[in-house]
Amino acid sequence: MIRNRGSLLPFLAPAGPLLLFVGFPLLLFFARGAGDLPGLTADPSLGRIYQFTLLQAFLSALFSVAAALPGAWFLLRWRITGRSLIRSVSTLSFLLPPILVVLGFTLVFGRAGFINRGLQGIFGLTEPPLKILYSAGGIILAHVFYNFPVALRLLTDLFGSYPENELKAARSLGASPLRAFITVLLPSLWPGILSAFVLVFLYCFLSFAVVLVLGGGPSTATLEVELYRAVRFGFDPGRAASLILLEGSVTLPVLLLFLFLDRRSHHEFSPDRHNAPLESPPPAIKVLTTVYFVLFLLFFFLPLLAIPFHSLLVRSTRGGSALFSAAHYLSLFRSAEPLRALAVTLSAAVVSSLSAVALLFPAARISALNRGVMNGRILFSLPLGVSSLAVGTGLLYLKSLFPGTGNYLLLVAAHTALAIPLTWRILEPAARSLPASVIRAGEVYAPPLIRFFRVELPLLFPALVTALAFSFALSAGEVNAALLFSGPGLPTIPVTIYHLIGAYRFGEASALGTLLILVSFGALLVLERRDGRDRKIISR
């Protein structure tokens, strides 16, 4: 399919960091464990953990996509005020270290959370009425909180043109609304649904115990918990390697099935997709939309708002009332580490997200021109099926090859590699859905730079923004590689937050989390605004 040797290069460039920071560590890891792969079948509790891991991942993916579908429809079909706010908020949950998400979540939904305390105050109850957390429902709620945003963005970004005319035609030919939805609208949503479902499934399947805290454990632990134990507590490389193979026996078939289905389902954006300006919704839809997005904001904003709230709350002595002050912020900035962490985190996140996008853009173009290219799509997606804990442990071996304590370049390169699979999953389908005729016309009529800035960049801008936003968030919130490569002189924010909490300083950790939210939220809002403006330029 690839026409000449020159077009192989775009696929090799991103493969480099992937091989160095994902493939090579895994190989080093396996080299130690492959000698003695014990049979895992004799372990009955492992069977139950396996089943549970599978079930919770499936349900979380199902609920995340189901919850995002109406939102995607509202956003695609109607003009909605606060669109960029909604899109920015939804990326934030990705950004925060899980410990703060858990704290924020319990401050709102927990036994002593705002909702329970409010209800108890109103109805004079002695026991908290809302008991959703610390049950299997709590896990799914937390996973939806984490993954619903990915689902919503993939659904809207990978959507073809809204088939207004086709829908009207179907209805006028006598199709019921349901039939019209299934035969006309669903096929347009299909690539987004598929991508979102598989991504969320893989994330949840490989998720660690942090979110499962809300499920009440230990009957709600995943395979990753057993893997953690094998690599960190028992140091049993053989068992660890077996567990990775066991995980791979689920994630690899899922990935391959997905790539197969995805290849068959591609369809083009119509070139005039941006031309039709969105209409204001009719009153009934407006009410529904408002209810949906108010619930959305309550669900996402409240736990995030709980963190700034917590950062201003100063614990009182026994019996006294709660006090609010900036004391945590003042004490935070008496130390040097937080500001340095802010600088390191932001710069690493910006550089790694830009690098990931820049590395993948040429490959995405090729993929857009050669619809059948599978090579890169498989290669770049494979890390999605591998445990980050396994890669992190392999990185320990890799790190022992490099001298020194902290290394900024290694940190950025590792984050770039980690961002590649997700960036690719967002960028490639978007590029593939561009009309090849437009790209070819650009190739003929415009020099490369002009072509890039005038044609390809504007057309891909929404997907680029999503890719940048998520890889930014991924880097800013990442802990494993950050711990390994940061070292005492080069901390990142999640690492510093754990340092603070390790020293009992929960209030200062919330203050630092608040700063991360504010800075990132600002950056995301600017990006989203730009996105909106560029759309208007194209539509002219």
């Binding site: 927990g110 632990a221 002595t317 600088a343 754990y498």
Partner: protein, 342 residues
């Protein structure tokens, strides 16, 4: 668009350069590479103050390196076996000691100050791992809850404590493993029966101390497994005695944190010097107050807030095999017992 991109790129190149400039130091004449868990060398841990004081006294520079928690430190030492980058390791505890010994990672230390350390705190006869601080696993009670304090492990199974207790997973957290071995040393073979009876009292099992303690602080449950010294923080920095460590009739499991010389290091003399210095009273005070643990030198002068620490009358010690099973086998049994009937 292009201008903004240029600004963005400029900023992203300058920021890391500034960050790097901030931490580039000229190499000292003599230095020691020290591996530790990351919170030890953070700004709020004892690391920076110890390094500064030691360098001032001896001229030897301490370079800390931390791949993550104590489990990651051990994993990294095993990964580098034969070609170590560390001279000294700080932060392996008594639960990790058997693995560190069987992997042959450490060589015996010589430290004069060890004579002043009580014999019951020593981790091995050859001093491959030397204790620097210790503490006891204990339940912390939020006294604002109005709960009647339980007085024993057995009390915790009473119906009045239903959903009031936060535990940690022994597969991923050292207080979690500490609690598990505590119940084993008290109940022996009957421990699985105790875990089942305890289950209604457990609100949730977190993967690490941070989540568990955080949930307790935000009021989700009034009881959490932590350390007997935890109230010291609240006393020292919040002037509060709201959180109390409970002393239980059955006694308390001990955690001893140790340090050692890494096999293959070429700086044995300097390493011994550092380890001996860390057992001096000044270093012991820095470690105890920043780590909020008890110093191994009993005569160390401590702030008044340490009066709120619970030091149990009866101390329990984990042995390598308890009731014929290793810690790992007990953990398996724990998983088996508690995932059996979800």
């Amino acid at each position: 668009m292009k201008q903004r991109l240029t600004t963005l790129i400029m900023a992203t190149v300058l920021l890391p350069a500034m960050a790097l400039a901030g931490c580039s130091r000229e190499p000292a004449a003599k230095s020691l590479n020290v591996y530790c868990y990351d919170s030890f060398s953070s700004e709020w841990g004892p690391g920076p103050a110890l390094a500064a004081a030691f360098e001032k006294e001896t001229g030897i520079k301490i370079i800390f390196s931390s791949p993550g928690d104590a489990g990651a430190v051990l994993a990294q030492l095993i990964a580098e076996k034969g070609n170590p980058r560390a001279d000294v390791v700080i932060g392996l505890d008594n639960a990790q000691a058997p693995l560190a010994f069987s992997e042959n990672l450490l060589i015996p230390c010589r430290a004069e100050n060890l004579k002043a350390v009580p014999a019951d705190l020593l981790l091995d006869a050859e001093n491959r791992l030397v204790p620097y601080d210790y503490g006891h696993f204990a339940l912390i009670l939020d006294t604002d809850s109005g709960l009647i304090p339980p007085a024993s492990l057995e009390d915790l199974t009473k119906p009045e404590y239903a959903g009031k207790l936060i535990l940690m997973d022994p597969r991923t957290s050292s207080p979690g493993l500490g609690f598990l071995l505590w119940t084993v040393s008290v109940y022996g073979d009957k421990a699985p029966d105790y875990w089942k009876r305890l289950q209604p009292s457990v609100l949730t099992v977190t993967d690490g101390w941070s989540q568990g303690y955080g949930l307790m602080l935000s009021g989700e449950a009034p009881l959490v497994i932590s350390y007997g010294t935890s109230p010291v923080y609240h006393k020292e920095y919040e002037q509060s005695d709201r959180y109390k460590a409970l002393e239980f009739a059955e006694g308390h499991m001990e955690q001893i944190e140790g340090m050692g010389l890494v096999r293959g290091s070429k700086k044995i003399k300097e390493g011994n010097l550092f380890i001996n210095w860390l057992l001096g009273t000044e270093a012991q005070r820095i470690i105890a107050t920043a780590n909020i643990m008890l110093p191994v030198r009993p005569e160390t002068e401590l702030p008044a807030s340490f009066g709120s620490a619970m030091v149990p009358a009866k101390r329990l010690a984990a042995t390598e095999t308890m009731g014929g099973k290793t810690a790992s086998e007990w953990t398996d049994l724990w998983v088996e017992t508690l995932t059996g009937n979800p």
